[in-house]
Structure formats: C-alpha cells, structure tokens
Amino acid sequence: MTLLSQHTAPEQTRTVATAGPSAPPVLAVRDVRISDRVTEREIVRGVSFELTPGKAVGIVGESGSGKTLTCRAALGILPPHFEVTGGSVEIDGTDIATLTPPQWAALRGSTISAVFQDPASYLNPSIRVGAQIAEVVRVKKGLKRREARHRAVELLRAVRLSDPELVYGQYTYELSGGMLQRVLIAAAIAADPRALIADEATTALDVTVQAEILDLLAELRERSGLALVVVSHDLAVVAHLCDEVLVMRQGEVVEHGPTRAVLYDPQHEYTRLLIAEHDQYGLEKFLTPKEAS
Amino acid sequence: MVRRVLSLTSGRIAVVILAVIALLAILGPWLAPQDPLATSDNTLAAASGAHWLGTDYLGRDVFSRLLDGSRVSVLGSLEVALTALAVGVVPGILSVYLGRVFEWLTLRLADTLVALPFLLFAVAVIALLGNGLTQAMLVTGALVSPLFYRVSRAATLAVARSPYVEAALISGASTGWVVRRHVWVKVLPPIAVALAQTIGVGFVIVSSLTFLGIGVQPPAPTWGGLLASDLGYLSHQPWAPVPPALLIMVTVWASNLLADAIRDVSGEAGRTLADNRTVRANRLGKGRPVPAGGAR
C-alpha cells in the first residue's frame, strides 16, 4: 500500500498536520466574494479559511448558502456568468487570478482536486471507468500505458473496491452510487493531489455507504496527508471528518472555529438550530435510553 | 400557437414564402402571361420583356411554364405530407395504448418502411402501378409516415408516463378522456413540426420524379421537368436552371424554417413544463434521433 505516500511519508504528514499554522497553506481562501453578473447580486459575501497539509475544513450550510460556489471558485470552475468580485484564492502560494489555462491544467489534479455529488454524471458514460483513471495517471504522471493501467487498478483497490480488475473494465451505468463515488475519488487522487474538495460527496448515498466513504476519506487523509475541504448540508458528516468548521448562511460565514468549539459552544443562533435539529431528529435520541438500560 | 410562430421573424418569413407559393399553385395558370404549351421558332432565347425568363428548346415561355408547373409540385408535396400524417399519427398514439402485440407490429412496420429507399420505391410503384403522380405520392407518403408514427408515439409515451396523467387515471379518468384532454395538446406541436418537414421532403420528391420524367405526361410543365430539359442545353444556356432550382430550394428552405420556428415555439413551452428529473433522463438521449430500424 505505497501508492499514496509517494511524495510524503505518513509520519511526516502527521507532524506537518500538527505543526498547524506555521506550514504554508495548500489552499488559502481570503475574504472571497462571488457575484452573479446577470442579476448583479452578490451570492457569496466574504469567506475565508486556510487549508494546511493534512488538515480538514468543513463547510456546512443549507442549499443556496454559497458553499458550492466557494469551492467552485477555488477550483476555477465557476458556472457561466458567475465571477469572483473580491478577495483572493491562493493555491500553493499562487493567486489563482494570475493563472493561465495551461497553468490551471497543471495545478488541477496534481495539487488540488475534487469529487462531487452524483458521481455518475462526473464520469464519462462512454469510457470504461478504469481507463478514465489511467488517463489521469498517464497525463499527469507521464506513465506508460501499461504502468498507468496497473496503477489505476491499484488506485481502485486503494479506495476499497472489492474487485478492482473487474471494475476497471466497467462503465458508469454498470456500477452503484457508492462504487461510483469510490471510482470518482480514485480518479481525483490519481495524480496525488495535496488537497481534495469533497462537495456533498456523500449526500446522495444511503447511510451505510455514506459512512464507508467518510471512513475512506479519513483514511486517505491519515495515510497521505491529503488536506480535505468537506462540504455538506449535514453537520454530522462535517463533524466526523473535520478539525475546523465554517457555518454558512445566505452567502455569509456565520460561525467559524474548531469543530469541538462549534459543536459544544455554538455562538450563532443558526448553528444552534442546526445542532438542535440533530438532537431532535437524530437516531441517537432513540438509541441511547435502550443501551443505557 | 399560430400567433407565437408568427411572432418569430423566421416564422413570418417562412409563412409568407409558403403562402406565395400556394398562391402561385392556385392562380398560376391564370397568372401565366403566355400559353405554357405554345411552341415557337424563338428557341433558347435569353430573358427579355416578352419572355421574362427566356424560352426553352421548343421556344416555350419559361416563366409561364414555371407558374403553371407550381401546381403539380404543391399538390404533390401536400399529398405526401397529408398521407404520411393520416397513416402515421393514429397508430403512433394507439401503439401506446393498444397493448404489446399492436405495439410490436407497428414498430416493426415502421422500421420496415424507413428501411425502404423511398425514391426508388416511388419510381418502382409509378412504373408498375401506372403513370400517375398521385399513386406515387400516396405510396411515398406511406413510406415517410414512420416519422409521424415515431413523433406522435414519443410524445404520447412522454405524456402517458407523466405523473399528472397517472394522477388523472388514478382519480378515475378514462383513457379516452386522457387522450383528448392531455395527449393531443402534447402531440400536436411535434406533429406540426413533422408536417412542415414532410412538405419540404415532398417538394424534393415531386421535383426528383418530374425531373426523371416520371408521373407527368411530357408536354405538361413541372419544375423538375424544366430542370431536366435545361440539362441538355447547358452549354447554350448555363443560367437556365437557376429559376426552377431556386424556386425548389426556397420552398424547401421555407418549409424547414417553418418547422424550426414551430419547434422553437413549442420547445419553450415544453421546457417550462419539464421538471429537472425528466430533463436529466432525457439528456443521454438528447439529440439522438431514432436510428433507422435501429435498436430501441
């Protein structure tokens, strides 16, 4: 299982991760504002966070709160007629506003990558999924065809797919949602990125599969020091993975802090509401008394 | 819908052109300044005040022949389109409701008709069943009818499986009522599009047949026939084929333009009705025409 630790050994990673603010951030988002050019409305109003190697930042908020747009801005894939109107995003010390398309292409996949909700649609339906992973390895790592194929199978195994050889030759419509998300993750980490953005990556999956995917992400982070941005409307998902949480509402960050602090001592009313809802509707409430007795 | 089509510039242009052509077809013989059949010694003359578009190899007035010949083309293409409509639409709608056997039979039949090269068939039929354009147009119409069958079937299927029809059926509406109330509304626009397209196709077929001299007895003027006779005298009159060719092209273009206009207008209405789920389901199949006799 050496595949993910090629550029950083696990021990190193842990130290880097705990070294905290002193390590240079992989991704730094500073007071980013995003506007819709057509309606001239500001959709995201000042989001800031820093992602150092091995760290995991969570963004929580209801749909339409601007969390996805923030991520897309960081990846340089804002939908048409949206643009960053203020603040800056730096990937590995470079301001993305200065990047040329070839520079972007070089950066994506190998420094920053992403997985999304509805994984089936983010993979080409006409190409075997394995070949799509091998393509990334070939292009980004300069591997030969055969080596790339070998490595793609390794990656599929690394994301805990039980029969990687078989999955390699299958098409998207032959795989389940959970398997597809694993494949998408394998493709995203194929070029050993240092930061991975998971945008609602577990939302459409059922609960057990969701837990497995979250474990997989945690494992990747542990093993290779992959920094994570986890976007979800579900506080539990974020709490499971992240050291730091941003709570967003209507384009603004209403609360930002270490996960524990936000969970146990929420300052903003909206955060309290989110937590209260979990207390009220979560399964824990029904289970605890039984187990106690 | 008519008003919405006319509100588009392209729709207006198309309708005006087609109206002019239709008017020519009705009034052509009376508008013709000279007898389209009268020969003269003034053969292969250039355009002049007396002969606006010159004369042909027998000295007949080209302009008059063009006007007189428009009726054959217009009638022929209308025959094709209306036959196709009559033959295709009803089985298309019924194929959704009359059970699997009927569905299978009609689908296979549609596959078969599409697989037949209709121009070849039209030629064969005219020759074998008698030299009349009407027979050939009826047969061609039948061969083109799968277009209408597919279009009406697809629209009906989409409606039949939509939640609001299911809801209507659950709340006790009869199939007949659903067809009258919901299906027609959805099926009509695509049929209108197909009709406009088929009229264009009909013009090409009539022109092709008359070009070959099939279906119309020689002295009678036709657009295709004019072109054919011009072909023999290209070295004397290289510009002679231009007027009939332009007339055919403009008519076909107007038909296509009308089809596009109707599609644009009805597509807008369709888009607001369609919810995201069906849009996503359609995406894979979008722009994918049903292959001829292909897998379904």
Partner: protein
C-alpha cells in the same frame, strides 16, 4: 502484504481479463442479436410487399414478349412458363427461396439473370455512394466540429448559413450546378460516364467525384448540424467538469471525452441517411450518365420489368439493412451507454 499481493494478482488478473473479454464479446453479440431480431421481420415484410407489387401491377411477361394482340392461350402458356399460374403464396415461396440463395430470377424483357445485371451496376453505385459518404463525413465532421468549437462567433454563423443552403439543395440541383460549372463551364471533370477503378484510380475518381459531390451535400449538412448540436450538448455535461478538475487539457477533453459522446447522434443520423442516398442514386446516375444501380432501377421500372424491379428493391433493402447493422455496431462501441435498454 506485498508478497501475497504479488501471488494473488496474476491469477486474479487472468480471471478478470477473461471475464472482460467475455463481457465485450457478450456486448457485441447482444447488439448483433438485437439488430437481427429487428431486421429479420423488416426483411420479411419488405420482401413480401415488394413481391406483392407484381400482383398489384397486373403486369405480365406475356404482354412484354407477345405484344398487345396476343391470344389468351399464348398468354396463358407464357405465364405458365414463368410459373405465374401457381397460387400467390407458392410463387412468393419460390421467389423468396431464390432470394435467400442470391438468385433474383430472370428479366422479363431479355431473359438475362437479374443478379448479374444488378451486380454490374452495383460497382458504380457503391463507388459513388461510398465516396459521397466519405466526403460527407469528412467535410461535415470538420464543419460541425469547427462550428461547435467557435460557437456564437461569426465562423459558427457562417458555417450554419452554408449548411442551411446546401441542406435545401436536392441532389439533382447540386448535380446540375456541378455539371454547369465544373464540367461544361470549366471543363475540369468529365460530365458523364464511368471508368472502373482497374483502369486507373485517377480517371475513376474523376468520373465519380461530381456525382459523389452531388450526393454528399445532404450528408454534409446533416453530419455538420447533428455534430454541432451533439458537441454543444456534450460540452455542458458534468463529466467535462470532472475531467477539468482532474487537470486534463482542453484539447484532450475535447477529443477524448466530448467528441466521443457528441458522435453518437451523428452516427445514428448516418444510418438514417443511407436509404436516401440509395434512392437519390436514381437521379444522380441519370444526370451523370452512369450505368449504375439507380439507372437500372429506373430503366426496369419504365420497361415494366417486374422481376428486375423486385430485385433492385431487395438489393436496396439488403444494403440498407447491412449498413444499419454496421452503424449499430459502431454506435455500441463508441457510446456503450446508449445501447443499454433503449
């Protein structure tokens, strides 16, 4: 961990490779089986209709051979000779068995073997049709791709305009224009006739270029339009975003991902286009004086030579059906998802 993996992998890989081959083979067989399942009934119905034409036409070899003033006895004798006194279904049975063996009967007019006659003309027609398809696909492909890449610019509008113009030009109009300009006016190409490829590729190409161009306009227009639509639609798909995020270059995304999915509708259109191409050969061969399949169809039809017309129709159906089979196979290879249960 490493050592066990090494031992396990080869065995697994062989198994998986075999499974994959089976998988691929199964997919192709599935496509073929489905296509045959559709085309067999198509063929049966089409040949039946074709055969029924004779009964409907009321034509008889006796009239052609004996003239209008033949005695009823003579007519009966000739018809018995041709087996036309048998019941309709028996006649169909005989004829259909012949068709399955590649025998299309003999001409009423001159008693020649129809298969041979059609075979003679088919070389000409297939040369022209294939060349037309090649021109149509290549030019249409270039135009459609360019329009999609430069969409909403003047290049896109110019291409769209050009495509609209050629799409409304029937083959015989294009044919006449080509003859007028390139053959009669500029004398670049021969205006009529055909030379087989054995007598030199150059003259062969020179003779089939104009008819092929005339036929190809329609194909160019359809391919260009369909490809543009397909590519523009594919461009806004999520998997393109996915590929962007993985850091692939725009060029690679276009050729490797978008083109592949945009191609499906275009291929399907080609399948639909083929019958029209076969049909249009009747007209183009007339214009360019080619003794091909279409000309043979026209001449036989005019002469009332029913077996010959039936033969022509059967051959055209076989052509269309096999072409569609090929298109379906290519489609299954290029866009496997579209073949699933649709």
């Amino acid at each position: 961990m490493t050592t066990t993996a090494l031992q396990v992998v080869p065995a697994r890989r062989r198994g998986a490779a075999a499974a994959r081959t089976r998988h691929a083979l199964g997919r192709i067989l599935g496509v073929i089986a489905r296509s045959i399942g559709i085309f067999v009934p198509v063929f049966l119905v089409a040949t039946f209709v074709t055969f029924a034409l004779r009964s409907l036409s009321g034509l008889s070899p006796a009239r052609i051979q004996l003239g209008e003033n033949a005695t009823p006895e003579a007519i009966q004798r000739v018809e018995a000779q041709w087996g036309l006194d048998k019941p309709f279904l028996a006649q169909y049975g005989d004829w259909f068995t012949g068709v399955l063996h590649g025998e299309l009967g003999v001409s009423w007019v001159n008693g020649a073997d129809i298969s041979t006659l059609i075979g003679l003309g088919l070389g000409v027609s297939l040369s022209v049709a294939t060349f037309a398809l090649v021109i149509g696909v290549v030019v249409g492909f270039a135009l459609g791709t360019l329009a999609a890449l430069r969409r909403t610019t003047w290049i896109d509008r110019a291409i769209t305009g050009f495509v609209t113009v050629i799409s409304v030009m029937p083959p015989f109009v294009v044919g006449i224009v080509l003859v007028a300009v390139l053959a009669v006016g500029l004398d670049v190409f021969p205006s009529a006739g055909y030379l087989p490829a054995e007598q030199g590729i150059g003259p062969w190409l020179a003779h089939i270029t104009l008819p092929a161009l005339a036929l190809s306009c329609d194909v160019i227009a359809d391919v260009a339009r369909q490809l543009r639509t397909g590519l523009v639609a594919a461009h806004s798909e999520n998997y393109v975003t996915g590929a962007v995020v993985r850091g692939l270059s725009p060029r690679r995304i276009f050729f490797g991902h978008i083109l592949r999915n945009g191609l499906g509708p275009t291929l399907a259109t080609l399948g639909l286009k083929f019958p029209a191409l076969v049909g249009a050969s009747v007209v183009t061969e007339w214009i360019f004086g080619l003794q091909g399949f279409g000309r043979f169809a026209n001449d036989s039809a005019q002469a009332g030579d029913v077996p010959a017309v039936q033969g022509v129709l059967v051959v055209s159906i076989v052509l269309v059906v096999s072409f569609n089979l090929i298109v379906n196979l290519v489609l299954a290879r290029v866009t496997p998802a579209s073949q699933r249960g649709v």
